[in-house]
Amino acid sequence: MSALHLDAEALYGELLAAVRALVQPGSVLVGIWRGGAWLAERLHRDLQLAGEHGVITSALHRDDFSSRGLAASADPTRLPFEVEGRHIVLVDDVLHTGRTIRAVINELYDFGRPASVALVVLVDRGGRELPICAACSAARVTLPAGQRLRLARAADGRFSFEIR
């Protein structure tokens, strides 16, 4: 549909530099299932952060539950640390309407009251329907509303984008 070319590996390098500047002592990365969880896992390793990173899913707080039902295959949220008082850095592959972020923040608050929540994304594709913005994004693109963009991870761990 478009000749859009996104080099996910190059963008990851930019994201890594931005997140390095953003994290502070006591920060913890929480990846949004699924692409964001891959990113958080790799960022956590590359930044040599202490402890474990978290994984969070929007499934239980989605606002389209009544029309789409319960997602069949989301991993459950796993936050192996105290959320209360922490600086949380949410990581996602693509930021679009902002509805997933809203759901994920609600999910996060079910575990406690964080000191702060920031959002970093690989790609901001615009089209926001809620007042949400990322602290940093490695790329900004414009896509038609119906087009789907998401991260894929190869067996060797390299990232690419799927555009459909």
Partner: protein, 320 residues
């Protein structure tokens, strides 16, 4: 429109009512068990509530008494943020002569979204599912001798939690099988999930012979029934059976089929002991077993809430 004439599934094979485990595809059972795993962790959070059923009204219709099952459904619905209405139906409309379908029509006019039904007559939840409005979902919480699907599912969740894989297990169901809707639901679920050896253990008067046709091994000898089992599901011996001349006495039953540590030693060393509750100590199970290391009776209760949350949220998210 109804897939293979199974009123529980829509045309995409998605669950819209839970009436019986019989006839449900393996994928649906696994989906429920996987989803229950998600909800199990919700029950350990600071905030034990998610908004999936916010604004929905769940009516608990218990035509037969059951404090425990009703309470776990109520907790499950409330943790999904639904409004829960408990109707002591046995003592109200029915007593005044109202028919089942008139009761349902009246409750539907109150904008119910889900009925959780316990009824003494087999098939009553099917009747309700067939006659309620299309957006209303029905969960069978036990009907006659027919089925108790959420108990069957929580039993499967418990087995999967401790044993991981169904495909190499020996499961013994022991006691009053002929009157037990739990046994029937368990056997259907175990079969669907691929358990290679299912045994029904008990006296001739309480174990129907036609179970063999379902691929179940019938054992009237307790030692044979539980030898090398991975899972032992004990059933409650209902006191009223004693008077019906089906059994000589509770003491006699305990001597032959009651699970003691001595008999349990015949099963695999890591075998788990389950019971749907309420337990009769000294009738079908000895206290040393019920309170022992191999007993998972209380975890079953905890898992039951997560499984009921999974069932309610899955059916509420699917449209007919």
């Amino acid at each position: 429109m109804l897939a293979r004439n199974n009123p529980q599934l829509n045309r995409h094979d998605e669950l819209i009512h839970l009436l019986s485990i019989e006839g449900l595809p393996q994928a649906v059972l696994h989906h429920i068990l996987d989803t229950a795993g998600t909800f199990l962790s919700v029950n350990e959070r600071e905030v034990k509530k998610v908004p999936l059923l916010r604004g929905k009204s769940v009516f608990n219709l218990f035509f037969e008494n059951s404090t425990r099952t009703r309470t776990t459904f109520e907790i499950a619905a409330k943790r999904l943020s639904a409004d829960v209405i408990n109707l002591d139906i046995a003592r109200s409309s029915t007593a005044k002569g109202e028919s089942l379908l008139d009761t349902i029509a009246n409750l539907s006019a109150m904008h119910a979204d889900m009925f959780v039904v316990r009824h003494g007559e087999s098939g009553a939840p099917y009747l309700i599912a067939q006659h309620c409005a299309p957006h209303v979902h029905v969960v069978n919480a036990g009907d006659g001798r027919h089925a108790h699907p959420t108990q069957g599912l929580l039993d499967m969740y418990t087995i999967r939690h401790y044993k991981r894989d169904f495909r190499n297990l020996t499961v013994a169901v022991v006691g009053d099988i002929v009157h037990s809707r739990v046994a029937r639901s368990d056997i259907h679920a175990l079969t669907t999930l691929g358990v290679p050896e299912i045994r029904a253990v008990g006296p001739k008067t309480l174990v129907p012979g036609d179970l063999k046709e379902m691929g179940v091994r019938v054992c009237h000898d307790m030692a044979e029934g539980i030898r090398d089992a991975d899972v032992i599901i004990m059933l409650r011996l209902q006191n009223e059976r004693m008077s019906g001349a089906m059994l000589p006495s509770a003491g006699e039953f305990f001597k032959t089929y009651g699970l003691t540590l001595e008999k349990l030693a015949l099963a695999k060393p890591d075998a788990i002991v389950m019971h749907p509750g309420p337990i009769n100590r000294g009738v079908e199970i000895d206290s040393a077993v019920a309170d022992g290391e191999q007993s998972v009776i209380l975890p079953q209760v905890t898992f039951g809430i997560a499984v009921r949350m999974a069932v309610m949220s899955i059916i509420a998210g699917n449209t007919p």
